[in-house]
Symmetry: C2
Subunit: 209 residues, 2 copies
Amino acid sequence: MGIEDAGPGTVRPGGRTARVRASVLRAAGDALAEHGFAHLDLVDVARRAEVGKTTVYRRWGTVTGLVADLLLEMAEESLPRTETGSLLGDLKANARLVQRTLADPRQGALFKAVLAAATGEEKTAEALHRFYDTRVKEWAPCVQQAVDRGEIPQGTDAHEVIRAVSAPLYYRLLTSGDRLDEAAADRAAEAAVAAARAGAYLRGDDGHA
Amino acid sequence: MGIEDAGPGTVRPGGRTARVRASVLRAAGDALAEHGFAHLDLVDVARRAEVGKTTVYRRWGTVTGLVADLLLEMAEESLPRTETGSLLGDLKANARLVQRTLADPRQGALFKAVLAAATGEEKTAEALHRFYDTRVKEWAPCVQQAVDRGEIPQGTDAHEVIRAVSAPLYYRLLTSGDRLDEAAADRAAEAAVAAARAGAYLRGDDGHA
DNA sequence: CGATTAATGAAACTGGAGTCCCGTTATGGG
DNA sequence: CCCATAACGGGACTCCAGTTTCATTAATCG
């Protein structure tokens, strides 16, 4: 009975506490990109961040807890969205952005590690879902504009179209050893547009015309 | 210099050795499905398999090594493929199969764990890639048949079409909390067919007609 | 069937991840 | 500017995953 929880960092979040968090999250990202999720150890993160290991254990506790907080920060920094005037152009821009991110050695390894961490730990999974919801929502407007222009049918689920662009890129990253190139990105965008035109992403409909 | 490696289990693979392997792999699958990759510990696997922990460490060494062997076995047991006479019918059957597998609590958790394990460990990743190559190759013929029937353009990359069906299902499994239902499976199949018809999966082509 | 030795398994051992204790630092409120 | 105390950090401690050793069991070959 009474107010409980409110872990460390919630009462005096300014100054040192904020610096420690930034330093630890940066170190965690580096370590994840280098060693992967499986071999991440909090003592190493503490060393890199030049912070006492007690602090890391007290504030984040586990590897998955730390990744969850890292995802919160990653969700905040949003990337600028371009507008090309056509759905295919916008989705290609999106696909290229995702492709470049996943193909980059550091970023690609980091995303793989974060996905692995979200597997199995509910709290981390929720943070990951919020991260992708944020990204999808940022890009959904370009699909709605395409509907308004008459490029694709009324009632198209904008979020589903955006997800359709990323899906094959992530699938390829995880299940094949092939490199993610621009051709793969363009193909993903083209496939999504073709499917959207055919009404495959109509909301609350199973696709039968 | 000379012949080296050839670890335990390669000289006398019959009888007990085979029984131990089967028992350990089954236990590993159970443990992965229950606790996830992050919390898997080989001592627990040894206990479940009723096998000395020394044996597990000697033959598989690490968690990722054990998962790699598990994937080799998973690749061998192939699922029967149905033939419905139309590309959409065949791909829907494939999509439903994947969807049922991933939606099943045990199987879904196991696949998540296996994907997580393949992240970061090259040897495990290779085993995973072989597993998916096997599955994709099993289903590719139905796409070729569709080409022969004239449903989709000549020069369509059959493997890419099959991957396009699974991709959105895996993407949803990993990046959202939403349940994988039949509607999602059907939508994946329909989108793949629409994109294939539009020529998005032409081999060695970036999609421009 | 018996000899050879590959493979297993019990037990003792070790190193380091994670915890605990308590003194030190510096934030935020008055 | 000063006080109360939130948050940090060093170091000792614990516990168990992973290793090593060696005796026991059983697969293969003649």
